[in-house]
Structure formats: structure tokens, C-alpha cells
Amino acid sequence: MADGVKIKGTRDGLLVSLGAGDLPLLLADLRAQLNRSPGFFQGGKVALAVGSRPMTRADLQQICDVLGELGITIWAVISQSPMTRAAARELGLASASPPEEAPSDLEAGQEPAVIVRRTLRSGQSVRYPGHVVVIGDVNPGAEIVAGGDIIVWGKLRGTVHAGAMGDDSAVVCALQLQPMQLRISGNIARSPESNRTKQKARPEVARVRGAEIVAEPWEP
């Protein structure tokens, strides 16, 4: 299915694009892709790009329903077709024609990275299909979900999920690795109580070995 459903990360968030093909097949493909890493998409907001395909309100509603199964909402529909844009407006969705030049978007498999140059505070979160680099701290109550690795040049005390789309080889490193909860792919590690007390700060890297997450000194 060369041209089916693609899910990409862009600077403005996740973009779901539908290629050519029958809608029922595309819907099945979309559902399959989402269910490969439900935790990553859960509760998210996406933009939907449907090219020049003319779509009715009922067609769009079907897509909304599939996304809705994972609590995902569409915040905008991008299409060249006036009919599709009108249908989107009827459903109360923002609609737009695509920008002239293609956005510099990044595909999930291509390992791009986003750099966050500030401390992530409680209640703030970063979700990105590629790697996430934070220059600052990740405070308790903050959250990072990344398709790839997570690197924190600071104290990591929040909740992080690396390899969230199923990549067991992803790693998490931090100058001070004291996460509230750390996940890599489907594996979970919680901060042992003793870790909460202050210890000598040293950089560590967490990775999956066997079926366990282990933290080792970070010695490049």
C-alpha cells in the first residue's frame, strides 16, 4: 500500500495524510497504524491532509470516528478540494488549502530530532515521533513521549517514554536520571524510593537489556 495512510510529525504537530485508494481500506490502515502505538497518540490532536480527494461530511465523520477510538481529535483539515473543505466546516473543523511549498515535515522512521531549550515544568509535555533533546530540566509532573531517544542535558525528574512507537533500542540519558517513571517501548521502570533522596549526580543512560530497563553510567 504505497500510497495509503502516512503519519508524520511536523513542526506544528502530527499530520495524518490520506493517499489514493478506497476509503474503507484507508480507514483500516489508519486504525492498524494507530494501534501499533496507541499510547503515543492517545488524547492527541492531529491535522488531516486529504489531498484533492473530494469528501463528504459522512466520509470525514468516519475518519473522526476512527481517530476518536483513541481519543484523538482533528484540529484542521487540509485539502485542495472546496467540497471537502466545506464538509469539514460543516463538522465544525478548521479547514485550509495546503501551503504552496511542502512543509519541512519529518517522517516517523527518519529519526529527526527536536530540541527544547528550556526547563519543562509540571503540566507541560512534549510529544514527538523522533528524538527529543532537552537543554534544561524535566521537572516532576512534566512528560516527554518520543518515538526515538530522549536526551536531557539537565535533571530528569518527570515522566518519559522513549521508543514509544515500539522501538526497543531507544535510550534515555540525562545528567541526573531520577525519573518519576521511565518507559522504553513497552517496558516500564519506576524510580526506586531510594533514588528520590539526593545522591551524587552523575550522567546515566537507561536502556532495555533482556526484558528489563537498566541504568548505566553515561560514558560516551
Binding site: 528550556r118 526547563t119 515544568r121 509540571s122 503540566g123 507541560q124 530540566d137 521537572n139 516532576p140 509532573g141 525528574r157
Partner: protein, 266 residues
């Protein structure tokens, strides 16, 4: 020179915002500043009660915003000091009666008339908070040294940063030095390490605050208690004085503790 509008806020409720607003207002006025304190906690007003001015309210913030009266008419003068005024909140309205744009306008007027306007914010991250910070030049975040309060303070700091109101400065309230010493309470260092913003002052737990709150007499009027002195120090730091930070909770040896007892507290 236009005055400064400072909003006093917190994430968690009940950490001492109203107490701090009333006392800093009083202390700044005692140091000769022209001060207005504004109760932005609409529907749950209590700055007037803590200041003992409840029985003199005629108009309130919502009346000013709706043009029922002029700002001057709504300001209640506190006769215990020279230039301290209270702009009370409406008791019977809810926070949707005021918008951030209204607050920006009120703050603009206050800046013209006063050296300092202190705004007592409601707890939380909703419209009441948005109103309270809309017109602020600076924000003070109050927290107690408890994990949940610090977590919520962190959240508020994130929101303030996102609105480009600076990271703000921090007051740690209700610190219990002996509990910190036993390791049963977060220390000042622990709190500052997480929040990573400027520390403006530390107020110890002090029974005298409860008594003064109930009497409607801000504690700085009585002067000598540890909390009164800590609040006065904060007011002087706001005025730009360089007052060293007293760290009641630092792990210290017998001799330094003895030395401090000889020198006197904060």
C-alpha cells in the same frame, strides 16, 4: 515614575497568598510607599476580612469595571498607615464578571496613582488567575514546602513564562525549621532547586499569623514575631534593599546554631 503592579499567586490554594498580600501591602506602606492592594478573588473575597476593612466596603472591583463608580470611590483607605488602600472584590458575582482586558485597564490606572499595586490572585489556573496576572508587571509565587504545593507552583511558573511575564520570584511560606532538620519537610534548597527561580523570602510557620488573621490586624503591625520580620524583609527586598536571606533550615553544626542564636533570628 509609574508604579509597579505585582500579582501574588500560587498553584495550590490556602498557601498564604492573601496573608502575604495584606502584610506586604501594609509593610510597604509603613516604609512610606503609596500602596493599593487589590482582591482579584471574585466571589470568594477575603482580603478585606484579613485586613479588617470588611465593614467599610461600598463599591468593589466589578463596580469599577462596569463603570458603576470611579476607581477612587471604590478604594478604601486603611487609616492605620499613611497611604494604603484596598480595592475589594465583589462577593456576589463570579469571576466571569471581569475580563483580562478589564484588569489591564484597572492596573493602568493604579500604576498612575500608586508606587505599588499588589493583586491577590485566586488559586488555580483558570480565568481568575488569568485576570489576576493580565495587568501584572511582576509575579510573586507563594508556595509551602510541600511536594504537592511545589508541583502546582511549578505549573504556574510554566504558565507565567508562557505569557512572558518572566519566571517570577518565590516566597516559601509556613516553613517549619525543626521538621526540615528532621528531614520530614522539603528544605528551602529542595524547593529552590526544583523551581529554579529567584527566592524573595522565607516565612516561618507562626501561630501569630492565625491570631492576626482572625483579628483583621496584619501581623506586620505588631512587628516582633518571626513571621512579621520575614514579611518586612520581603517588603524591603521588593523596594530594592539588599537584605541577606536567613536560612532557618540549613543543616548546621552546634556552633553556627549557637552563633545564630546570639545574633538573633531573621
Amino acid at each position: 515614575m509609574p508604579g509597579k503592579v505585582i500579582t501574588i499567586t500560587s498553584g495550590k490554594g490556602g498557601v498564604g497568598k492573601t496573608t502575604v498580600t495584606a502584610n506586604l501591602g501594609m509593610a510597604l506602606a509603613q516604609h512610606g510607599q503609596r500602596v493599593a492592594v487589590v482582591d482579584a478573588d471574585i466571589g470568594l473575597r477575603n482580603l478585606d476580612v484579613v485586613m479588617g476593612l470588611e465593614n467599610r466596603i461600598v463599591y468593589d472591583l466589578v463596580d469599577v469595571v462596569e463603570g458603576v463608580c470611579r476607581l477612587r470611590q471604590a478604594l478604601i483607605r486603611d487609616r492605620r498607615v499613611n497611604e494604603l488602600y484596598l480595592l475589594p472584590a465583589a462577593q456576589t458575582r463570579d469571576k466571569t464578571a471581569v475580563s483580562p482586558a478589564d484588569m489591564i485597564q484597572v492596573c493602568e490606572q493604579l500604576r498612575r496613582e500608586f508606587d505599588y499595586a499588589l493583586i491577590d490572585s485566586p488559586a488555580g489556573i483558570e480565568q481568575g488567575f488569568q485576570n489576576a496576572v493580565a495587568g501584572a508587571d511582576e509575579v510573586i509565587i507563594v508556595t509551602t514546602p510541600e511536594v504537592s504545593a511545589v508541583r502546582d507552583a511549578d505549573r504556574i511558573i510554566g504558565l507565567i513564562e508562557a505569557q512572558e511575564k518572566g519566571p517570577g520570584s518565590l516566597i516559601i511560606n509556613r516553613l517549619k525549621p525543626d521538621m526540615v532538620r528532621r528531614g520530614d519537610m522539603l528544605s528551602t534548597e529542595d524547593v529552590v532547586e526544583i523551581l529554579a527561580i529567584k527566592l524573595l523570602g522565607i516565612i516561618p510557620e507562626d501561630e501569630a499569623i492565625v491570631i492576626s488573621t482572625n483579628r483583621g490586624t496584619p501581623i506586620v503591625l505588631d512587628g516582633r514575631s518571626p513571621a512579621a520580620q520575614a514579611l518586612d524583609n520581603i517588603a524591603r527586598r521588593i523596594m530594592g534593599e539588599d537584605i541577606p536571606m536567613y536560612q532557618p533550615a540549613r543543616e548546621e553544626g552546634f556552633f553556627s546554631r549557637l552563633a545564630r542564636m546570639v545574633r538573633g533570628g531573621d
